[in-house]
Amino acid sequence: MEPGTGALAVKIMTTLLVVLLALAFILFLTSLMRLRRVERDLVGLYNKLQPVHLPALLNLLNPEDLSFLRANLRKPDFVQVKRQRTRALIDYVRRIALNAKVLTSLGELYRYSPLPDVAAAGQLLVSRALMTRILALRTLLCLQIELVLPLFDTNLVSTIKAYEAARTRLEGISSTSLVLH
């Protein structure tokens, strides 16, 4: 190799890296600008809420069922069943996390309502939804660990409690704004 060829290659790579990073960032910014428009559309946000079928989630979380399976199944079979259960839980918690994100956006819109009651309720919804989102993300991480180590147990109660509080708050705002209009 000619002397200086290596240095030139490094220089080219550094330049390419910086240019590509900057271009990727510009693309990222334009996509954010587009997404922001969607996040300000109230009807669109309500449509983004995903159904969470809670009776089915309750069935999955029944501790008695899990104890029964643990006692009666061979360990490899139990591990397989537990993994299937964890996959289903991940799907539910993902929906809860997404809904919490939508609720934050909704709360943010209501926060700027000219009606003081609606604005205050919006602020509360934002706080609760954000906390739910954080809890759901933490639970998702724990569930991913549970998928790898099936004997690890994740507690979902705090996430569901927070989700319930946020949803109740949204219900409160919906009825308030309907009464006031």
Binding site: A7, L21, L32, L54, Q123
Partner: protein, 251 residues
Amino acid sequence: MRPTLLQELLWISGPVLQSVVAIAIIHRRLLKVVPIFWSYTFFHVALAVVSYAAARVSYRTYFYVYWGAEIVDMVLTLLVIQELFRHAFAPYGAIRSLGQVLFRSAALMMIVFSILLATIGKGKVSPRPLVDSLISLERSVHVFEIGVLFVLFLACRILGIVWQRLPFGIAVGIGLTLSGEAIAAALLAFLGTAGNQLYIWLEPMSCALATGVWAYYAISIDREAQFSSPGLSSTLLAEWNQALEHLLSRS
């Protein structure tokens, strides 16, 4: 070499639009909301006047004014980004401190990355070592600031934090100008004097684009949200709540 008409227009459009932004911020009583960004804007307007005067004195004067201002600009940009971090997390009492932690962590990470970039990007001995060092510094600082800003955008997306209108516009504008300047500095560092023409075009273009974005977000008023609820099924909510109550009573 005399600048073309388009270059002059580009050069003038930046300070003119920034003056508009600075006035709009005062007019809309947003000075207390974004004081550092306003200082940044005012600095750029004042710099345009000083640079114009310096260019008439001598090239040497212009050179020192330009690079001295670039260093002040790098520091001010970082302060604006810190202000944006504060803004993004301010309405959420529970995670307000997370904003500071994130800013410091991102800054630390990006400092390491930028030093690495500056070290490996150093070329052979140059006939203009001061300019090359300054360009290399500019490129590294821009990459550092892009990284910190990216962490802010990413954290907001992950947590579902919704930006207020003006801070969002400021962040997008800062991102655009940093990206354009990083590309310009990287190409200039690689091509040397041959990249001068590219640099002369890219720098003011990215600045004009960014100031356009700032002017748009500073002047236009947010579309009013429709505060009527579009039919969220109350029976569905009641059903969910009932099921949750059942679950919580069991646990």
